[in-house]
Symmetry: C2
Subunit: 305 residues, 2 copies
DNA sequence: TGCTGTGATGCCATCTCGGCATCAGAAGAA
DNA sequence: TTCTTCTGATGCCGAGATGGCATCACAGCA
């Protein structure tokens, strides 16, 4: 039998030694450990022979610790404490009370449901660290697939195989115009009225489906829009609109806090729709912390709608 | 049977788990561990049930680690490394290559043998930290007895029960005079010539035997000396002599580097003798580092005498 | 459909661990 | 002194744990 083993001792020996070295009394230590004294004597003897040195001096008037024993005691105490803490940590992890989840989101999520979700989740699961990254839909889908992302708030435009998704909200897009734009004076207008207006959009690669829906919405009213800039994230588009470079699509939710030089208008008639979902991988199934986050997110969406 | 135990697992389980979690392959891990694969499977299953959570997902296309497993792996890796380092540390301690010894000394020791001893010891045992404290003989004896001192360089005046001692040097005391003292002009004189001179001595409690030998040496020549000050350590006595407060006893070795305002003179006839020894406790026997220090000290004394 | 490779399971020999009873030696009391 | 009492060490034995071997169950692949 190999009996080849990295450690010449077992945890048992170390725990026993710690007890004897602390109490300096074999019988009392054995009692504390709920074993008989001979077993303890033997275990200590084994440890000493395994380490090739004396750890305790057994005198008739008690036990005293040797320098080697003192060194061993110093070394094992923090290690035993660390080991003892592990089961509780794992329990906390399994119950979802402790953990770490990486979450990605888009500007729309942050403008709508995300703050409320984070507030409630942090309150109910203060031990779970949430790592947040604003990230476009396509990057989120890639990160979800390769496992580097736990869940994402994004805008699906097609089926998402391998993912569970849950619809959080849907909004019609309006447009954000420079205050100097001729249409800014009108309360209502349609997409085709924007034929002459250059647009600031996000890069197509970030969400090809929505990008293409914008183009086809224009096409349906016989317009080929001019694309002035492609920029990400959304806040920068607002800056460019404010600078007068063009208009941009935006949902009402995103249009809450705007600088004075821009004006938001809803559109009549056809317009692209934004759908926000939360998505996560089917396999492996979410760990408890992520499941808790998803539950909180789903409930927040229900209550807000 | 109690089988009450602080840890729900043993080191074996942790080492096995680390191997599987690293290799993500039961057979290969079992081979690395020099055990059969079924034993490894069982050990991991035991660990999982002990911790009440899954650590590894066994899929047909290999093994993948769960969040709980990853947490466990993170936690145990530093702990296992720490445990693995212990045997070597104890070996180093036992061989005397590593350690810590507390050493006390008197001014005479530092003026004579101690620097050479420390130089050689540090060279041969760089891993041993030597803690040095200048301390009077009586304090050294007390500290040796209660175990707070490993060894001391001191001046015994009686038997030292419970201690091993080794004579390092013996020197006749001369006197240190202010340069303005009348006797300073004479090259030779005896103790009785100092009848009118006040003396600066160390406190009697610091080495009663030597103090009394001074008094009896005076008594033998019919002189009752006047004690001007009692001061410790020796360097301060030099300062008081320099300030003209009186004379003090001193060995030639201690009179090497003196300020110009004082003059050292050897004495003819009877004079107190200083004996420097190194002493250490008989029980418990010295640990290897201390033994090495004693050996170096004894050899240094032999070569210098 | 069979082959290959995975981890899991059944069975058994062996070893270890710990309990009980007892021993050996020193300190302290009578 | 002698006896008691306390210490830790040792002999012996049974229960349980451990690990090896053979085998199973299952998925991927040719």
């Amino acid at each position: 039998m190999p009996r080849e083993y990295q450690f010449p001792f077992e945890l048992r020996h170390l725990v026993y030694f710690r007890e004897v070295a602390t109490q300096l009394h074999f019988r009392k230590a054995a009692e504390s450990l709920a074993i008989a004294q001979p077993a303890l004597s033997r275990a200590i003897a084994q440890l000493e022979s395994a380490l090739h040195c004396d750890l305790l001096n057994r005198t008739r008037r008690g036990v005293e610790i040797t320098p080697a024993g003192r060194l061993l005691l110093e070394r094992i105490e923090p290690l035993l404490r660390g080991l003892a803490a592990i089961p509780a940590e794992l329990t906390a992890l399994s119950s979802g009370q402790v953990g770490h989840i990486r979450v990605a989101f888009t500007g729309l999520a942050m403008a709508t449901v995300l703050p409320g979700i984070l507030r409630e989740f942090n309150q109910r699961f203060p031990g779970v660290r949430v790592e947040l990254n604003e990230s476009p839909t396509s990057a989120q889908l890639a990160a979800l697939e390769n496992g580097s992302l736990a869940c994402g708030f994004f805008h699906p435009d097609a089926a998402t195989p391998g993912l569970h998704t849950r619809l959080l909200l849907r909004e019609r897009n309006g447009v954000l115009l420079p205050a100097t734009h001729p249409l800014a004076k009108r309360a209502k207008f349609q997409l085709r009225d924007l034929a002459a207006t250059p647009f600031v959009v996000f890069p197509r690669s970030h969400n090809p489906g929505f990008y293409d829906r914008i183009l086809s919405a224009f096409a349906r009213v016989g317009v080929i829009p001019s694309i002035a800039e492609e920029v990400w994230p959304r806040a920068n588009a607002v800056g460019l609109v404010r600078a007068g470079l063009g208009a941009t699509f935006m949902t009402p939710s995103e249009a809450q806090h705007l600088p004075p030089e821009v004006i938001f208008r809803e559109l009549e008639g056809p317009t692209p729709e934004s759908r926000l979902v939360i998505g996560w991988r089917k396999h492996p199934p979410p760990d408890p912390a992520l499941q808790a986050f998803i539950d909180v997110a789903a409930r927040a969406a229900r209550t807000s709608s």
